[in-house]
């Protein structure tokens, strides 16, 4: 069974609810009409552009084109991580420290999932690779942004504690451990929550999509479980790497706390 076709007039119909919200906002002078209108327009333009890009990429059927698109997505996600930090690392570390582990681990888990779990033909089939990578990236982006924000703020707020631990002869990793633990827990919370709520509180997005598209619910559930495991794995490994790198950058090889390697930035940027 294929999904039911939606033409453009039906989309206008679907926009009715948003028009009503906008009209009410104007009527009640809530000042939200403009931002609702901008956000909705932005979504339409972005998705229209994505359609063009996806159509082109699907046509090329080249592993390099797919890889380029993945890296582009990774680049956007990397900038997004930096934008969500109150205290960013100085220089290119502000991008690389979160971005490199996230994109690297994401591509590895994606390759593993495609070649061993799903096995499409060819293995890099963009129809599978791109949406899966998007989900991996979206989740580890949130996790890394939260964890790095927590670790840099923690190092600053709890510098007395870290310095006391260092003064007692602990190594930099030992001294930072309580802060790293908190940062890891914060980063993993969203994925743990979404696993716990899956099916009971929320029907996950990909599963919803597949069911709406007419897929067998049992198969949709299997896909959902697979992607959730892939997301949790990507997030966990990325967090371990990114927090370890953050500790190495926040301290030096003489095991000193180096808060001078952080700078305040507008938050959210």
């Amino acid at each position: 069974m294929a999904s039911i076709y939606i033409d453009n007039w039906h989309i206008v119909l679907a926009a009715l609810a948003i028009f009503i919200t906008g009209a009410l906002s104007l009527l009640m002078q809530l000042g939200l009409a403009k931002s609702i209108f901008i956000a909705a327009t932005r979504m339409i333009v972005q998705l229209a552009l994505v359609t063009l890009v996806l159509a082109w990429v699907f046509e090329q059927d080249s592993v390099w084109v797919v890889l380029m698109l993945l890296l582009l997505m990774g680049g956007f996600a990397t900038y997004e991580i930096r934008a969500r930090q109150k205290l960013a690392f100085t220089g290119l570390w502000s991008l690389g420290l979160g971005g490199i582990p996230m994109v690297g681990v994401g591509i590895m888990v994606l390759t593993f999932t495609l070649t061993t779990v799903i096995g499409p033909e060819p293995w890099y089939a963009p129809r599978y690779a791109i949406p899966l990578f998007g989900m991996l990236l979206g989740n580890s982006l949130t996790a890394v942004a939260l964890a790095l924000d927590q670790i840099t703020r923690g190092a600053k707020q709890r510098q007395g504690e870290v310095n006391d631990r260092l003064a007692l002869g602990m190594s930099r990793t030992e001294a930072m451990l309580p802060i790293v633990r908190d940062a890891m827990a914060t980063g993993l919370l969203p994925i743990i929550n979404s696993m716990a709520a899956a099916g009971v509180v929320s029907i996950p997005g990909m599963m919803t999509g597949q069911i709406l598209a007419g897929a067998d619910p049992a198969n949709a559930v299997r896909y959902q479980i697979m992607i959730t495991f892939a997301i949790a794995g990507t997030t966990g490994i990325t967090l371990l790497l990114a927090t370890w790198l953050a500790v190495m950058r926040l301290t030096d090889n003489r095991h000193r706390l180096r808060l001078d390697r952080l700078r305040s930035q507008k938050y959210p940027a």
């Binding site: 003064a167 190594s171 095991h255």
Partner: protein, 197 residues
């Protein structure tokens, strides 16, 4: 012997300072950079300078090892566990030193936030002194203590100095300096000068 040469940590510049033993007091007004100098000697902040202990240059050993020998104790200790016991080992040596500091067994298990400032300061000293580092850099160790308890800590410092440890202490109490210091160093215009005892 602790030797400090050409150590610059603004606004202080130490050309040469040798500490052989005993209790040396560092006397200077607030804001002269005393705490930062101590942190620099313990290599906790970035600084240029040559520091060695008993002919071992600090750059030749791991920083963790250096700080086991050269211990900086800040004026306000920080805590990461729930109780003082979480920060200390459960052995006879710790308990004996605690008794000399006037800390009862019951206080070890009390939540940190229920301890008085003075009790926390003493636990901070106990934590830093119990593994007997060779050099102690003490930043106002008795600032939060009453006279009686201060005297207990002072007695312990004199005992440790008598065992051959090098004690360098920041103190704003002239009476305390008079009681325990064997040598006084002043900071004048960013330079260290021998003071009068």
């Amino acid at each position: 012997m602790l030797i400090i040469k050409n150590l610059t940590i603004l606004p202080i510049n130490v050309e040469r300072l040798e500490l052989k033993g005993g209790v040396t007091a560092l006397a200077a007004p607030s804001g002269a950079g005393k705490s930062r100098l101590f942190a620099a000697i313990a290599d906790l902040v970035v600084n240029e300078g040559e520091v060695s202990l008993d002919d071992v240059n600090r750059n030749d050993i791991a920083a963790t090892e250096w700080r086991k020998r050269v211990r900086y104790v800040s004026a306000e200790p920080s805590w990461w566990g729930n109780t003082a016991q979480d920060h200390l080992s459960d052995d006879e040596k710790t308990r004996q030193m605690a008794v000399r500091f006037g800390l009862t067994t019951e206080l070890f298990e009390r939540p940190i936030e229920q301890l008085s400032t003075g009790e926390r300061q003493r636990f901070g000293l106990l934590r830093a002194l119990v593994d007997e580092p060779r050099v102690l850099l003490l930043d106002e160790p008795t600032a939060a203590l009453d006279q009686d308890t201060s005297l207990k800590i002072e007695a312990e410092l004199v005992r440790l100095a008598g065992e051959g440890r090098i004690i360098f202490i920041i103190s704003h109490s002239e009476a305390q300096i008079e009681r325990i210091a064997t040598r006084v160093v002043n900071i004048i215009g960013g330079k260290l000068r021998e003071g009068k005892k």
